[in-house]
């Protein structure tokens, strides 16, 4: 690797490669901190058991909160008698829904949840009252003393039944037809395009009802100070800002009197991407008694209230011309919303946008609806809105390839988009190495040699996918920057980065330290990250939609401009050279032409701060705004916030499976993955995200499903009956970061947290087809389904 150090950007090709063909992130002349596999900054505390999670915290005088939950999935709340509970010694306060009637929800236009049920309950396990007591045992005892009278209503558990029976049962009075939201997006002339296609296929796909399964249950600790009117909340959330905002609405306290602090967070995957009743109940109880209150959920409560993945009932029709080019897609999606709206509108339209990439599709029609049912609500779950339609599209493409008599790889390569692609809905892809992903995974796995040639019971399947990177909406219609970063440089603390971003275990604090160090020319260990606090950190929207690396990277770059300029000016005077000739790298400032003219970085910091005080830089990032009507083309741009994504990540997976034809059990033996995440800021973390993603959705494809009985009672609200993959289910994994550098992105970065979950369902389903010749259209694929399908196949072949 080249060690010369001469203003390396001159050595780079427009693709971000240097002249020796070394990708930018490995080119040490260009980056010293970004592109390094470094240990997480928070790892030592975590391995010692010293990291403090919200549930590990106690405050002086702290009380314990518990929530009483409904045993009915749909019922009118006729009467609540809390008098006996109030009389129990040790009980400090009892709360009912009427005390906090303001509706909350992350999308304000559809906000319809209350802290505790007001007039009726809409799912099994919905909160009806809350108690604060001196200890958890007393709080639990008090819950049993609360008497609630219910009048059961008909329970709707299927979205189609829910729409059909809406005239007799409405789940929400203001949602006719039991439809939360519906919409249509049409681009081009779909019917005409289909009439000209040589190959047309239509199928129905159904996905399941999994949950995030993060290990740390929701916990919130609230401390209200009656004298100052200040509320301080510690919470296991991935959206401190949205929690902050919802708290303000529900508590009727201005945001500047509420502070949200994130201790260590034990995973989120979208499940902590909304406020929860734990947070509201803790705050309301604390305000009632003037003492801190902590609410920690049991695992069962997480299952009832956490918002898992929407079951999607999808009809997908695709048409190809005689050469195999995709000409039209018609997509109809009915999503099971569960009881409350949450992220619903966003997820619905995300699914629409999934049709537009990573293939060139000139004509697209989408019709979708999100339908209320009496189930625990659905919401944002890793790869939200992408996983279900990706399953449908990639499986249908495999079938179409078979129809044409070509390999799925050939068909997908033929239609794959490239850098500079504008989709028909105006989504713009500045950079793509999707073809390289397909090629790498296929070549490394031997897909072409193995497909169709393995013995019965063994199979191989492939699928691709994409995800957004760096985008979001401020859901309450505000144009403020999505991420702000403040960096302070002085002799006291060195470099301190302030940003309210949430490290939920994905490693954003480490990655932000690496990017700031890169830009400032210091080492990542030098950067102190102050994150996850709405009072200390500068504004950030939250950790969701794979936005943070890109967004914080851009803000960091901007924040460093002024700092570097001031330090260069200071050093220029000290060295007797021009400031614009100076380079800062590895804690040294030196002239790029006279490299002997150099001084330690901290000398310049000392010189500057001794005259001017601390050096502070502020940086902001807002994604491009591509909504509305393009004045030149006349195209309308739609598709939730996906349309605003500044760039996109891509990936491909090849799965190899063995199906035990005696037991019906599916063994995933090997997964070969290739991903385009732009510059991997921390390659070891990228691998961790990808490996975690693969197993996450192997679970979703084969094992995980929440089950309710006919009355809506949750049957598996625990990790015993809700099966997630253990180490025994882990396949061999060969993950590959393809060489990629997005020249439009800060440091060339893209996402990796959610793109890698996209191809797993279809790759696995395609592999099962290759193994036993049966296609599955419903998930999860259980051993019973395999055995039944094999039996039917045998009878048919007779």
């Amino acid at each position: 690797m080249s060690q010369k150090d001469t203003g390396s950007k001159w050595n780079l090709t427009p693709q971000g490669w240097n002249l020796e063909g070394v990708p930018a992130y490995q080119d040490q002349t260009r980056y010293t901190q970004v592109g390094r596999s470094v240990p997480r900054v928070d790892a030592p505390a975590k391995v010692k058991g010293e990291a403090v999670y919200t549930g590990d915290m106690t405050l002086p005088g702290m009380a314990y909160g518990k929530i009483k939950r409904s045993p009915y999935a749909h019922a009118i709340l006729k009467k609540i008698d809390i008098s006996k509970a109030q009389e129990l010694p040790g009980v400090l306060a009892v709360l009912t829904g009427a005390e906090a009637p303001n509706r909350w929800g992350i999308v304000p236009q559809t906000a319809n949840e209350t802290v505790l049920a007001l007039d009726k309950v809409r799912f099994y396990g919905e909160g009806v009252a809350a108690v604060a007591a001196i200890d958890e045992e007393t709080a639990e005892e008090a819950l049993d003393l609360i008497e609630v009278e219910y009048e059961p209503l008909p329970v709707l558990l299927d979205p189609f039944e829910s729409m059909e029976r809406a005239h007799e049962v409405l789940i929400h009075e203001d949602s006719p037809g039991n439809i939360m939201h519906q919409g249509e997006q049409v681009y081009g002339d779909v019917d005409k395009a289909f009439s000209e296609c040589a190959y047309v296929l239509e199928r129905e796909f159904h996905t399941n009802y999994p949950q995030h399964g993060f290990l740390e249950p929701h916990t919130a600790l609230a401390s209200y100070d009656p004298q100052s009117g200040q509320m301080h909340v510690w919470s296991s959330t991935q959206v401190p800002h949205y929690l902050h905002r919802q708290l303000s609405i529900v508590l009727e306290i201005p945001m500047n009197k509420i502070r949200v602090t994130l201790p260590t967070i034990g995973g989120g995957f979208g499940g902590k991407g909304e406020a929860s009743s734990a947070e509201f109940a803790a705050c309301l109880l604390s305000r009632k008694i003037g003492r801190p209150v902590r609410v920690t959920y049991e695992r069962s409560e997480v299952f009832y209230t956490n918002k898992g993945r929407h079951p999607a009932h999808m009809k997908l029709k695709m048409g190809l011309d005689q050469d195999g080019y995709i000409k039209a897609v018609d997509f109809d999606n009915t999503m099971d919303k569960g009881a409350y709206s949450g992220w619903g509108v966003v997820v619905l339209f995300y699914t629409a946008s999934m049709m537009h990439l990573p293939y060139k599709v000139p004509n697209v029609r989408f019709r979708g609806r999100s339908v209320y049912t009496n189930k625990p609500s659905t919401g944002a779950m890793r790869g939200l809105g992408g996983v279900q339609p990706r399953f449908a599209m990639e499986c249908l493409l495999d079938e179409l390839a078979e129809m044409m008599g070509v390999s799925p790889y050939e068909l997908k390569m033929k239609n794959a988009i490239e850098s500079g692609h504008t989709a028909v809905n105006n989504m713009f892809v500045p950079h793509s190495e999707y073809k390289k992903c397909l090629q790498t995974a296929v070549e490394k796995s031997g897909y072409l040699e193995k497909r169709g040639r393995l013995p019965f019971g063994k199979g191989i399947g492939m699928a691709g996918g994409y995800y957004i990177s760096g985008t979001a909406y401020t859901l309450y219609q505000n144009y403020k920057p999505h991420t702000s970063v403040m960096i302070r440089v002085d002799t006291e603390a060195g470099v301190t980065l302030f940003c309210a971003a949430a490290d939920i275990g994905q490693g954003s604090n480490t990655v932000m330290a690496q990017m700031a160090a890169e830009e400032l020319g210091v080492f990542y260990e030098d950067v102190h990250v102050q994150a996850g606090d709405t009072e200390i950190g500068a504004f950030d929207l939250g950790s969701f939609a794979s936005r943070l690396t890109y967004a914080s990277g851009a803000a960091i770059k901007m924040a460093c401009v002024e700092i570097n300029q001031k330090l260069k000016e200071t050093a220029a005077g000290m060295l007797g050279v021009r400031a614009d000739q100076l380079v800062i790298k590895k804690r040294e400032i030196y002239s790029m032409y006279e490299t002997k003219k150099r001084l330690p970085w901290e000398k310049a910091v000392e010189a500057y701060t001794s005259i001017n005080g601390s050096l502070v830089g502020l940086g902001n990032f807002s994604p491009p705004r591509r909504k509305g009507i393009d004045m030149i083309s006349g195209n309308r741009v739609q598709g939730a916030n996906i349309g605003h994504s500044p760039t996109y990540g891509f990936s491909c997976q090849v799965h190899e499976v063995e199906v035990d034809v005696e037991t019906g059990r599916i063994y995933v033996k090997k997964v070969t993955e290739a991903g385009d995440c732009g510059t991997p800021v921390n390659p070891m973390s990228v691998e961790g995200q990808v490996e975690g993603s693969i197993l996450f959705n192997i679970g979703g494809c084969l094992y995980e499903d929440q089950k309710l009985d006919a009355s809506g009672k949750h049957l598996n609200p625990n990790f015993h009956d809700y099966k997630m993959p253990t180490m025994m289910e882990m396949p061999e994994m060969d993950t590959n970061i393809v060489e990629s550098y997005d020249p439009t992105a800060p440091f060339g970065v893209k996402e990796t947290g959610e793109g890698a979950v996209q191809p797993t369902f279809p790759a696995l389903v395609n592999a099962i087809y290759d193994a036993i010749g049966v296609r599955f259209y419903s998930l999860p694929i259980t051993p019973e389904m395999i055995l039944k399908a094999l039996k039917e196949k045998k009878e048919k072949e007779g």
């Binding site: 590990d56 034990g266 995957f269």
Partner: protein, 161 residues
């Protein structure tokens, strides 16, 4: 009816007043204040609460505290060396990226320690089998297995108490 019992945790004796129904995890976390041991499910399914009792991995969320008298309990806080440096297993988890959110990590490390104490050179299959009671939702397990394998090497070369 509470009674006074003595628990030996990480080499130190603690006198605690417990109810017969009190679970070991609650006593360790709330009464003794060692919060490194985590409660993920409360029903013995996820392994986050794993501690060593007389060297064997046990689920502290389904273990009565009162039944642990006279036994040696080791929690994640009892692993680091006396000078504060990390145990080779802990160091290996850090170096290999085996830690993401960290909530499963204490239990995962305790189960790994029990394995390596018994079998200093486990095969990947043995590691998988031994750690299959510890759920991790973040990592996909690959880096955890790599970390345990690497720690086993250090273990057999340098010897660890």
């Amino acid at each position: 009816m509470k009674q006074l019992i003595e628990l030996n945790i990480n080499g130190r004796n603690y006198e605690v007043a417990v109810n017969p129904r009190d679970l070991l995890i609650d006593v360790i976390r709330k009464k003794i204040g060692l919060t490194g041991t985590k409660k993920g499910c409360g029903e013995g399914d996820c392994g986050a609460c794993t501690v060593l009792i007389d060297g064997k991995p046990e689920l502290s969320c389904i273990k009565l505290a009162i039944a642990c008298q006279g036994q040696k309990i080791t929690t994640i806080e009892g692993l680091a060396q006396e000078d504060g440096s990390l145990h080779p297993l802990q160091q290996s988890f850090v170096d290999h990226g085996a830690v993401q959110c960290g909530f499963c990590t204490p239990g995962m490390i305790m189960s790994s320690k029990a394995l390596l104490d018994r079998n200093p050179n486990p095969s990947p299959q043995e590691i998988k089998h031994e750690l299959s009671g510890n759920i991790c939702r973040c990592t996909g397990y690959k880096k955890i297995i790599e970390a345990v394998e690497a720690a086993a090497k250090v273990w057999s070369q340098e010897g660890v108490k």
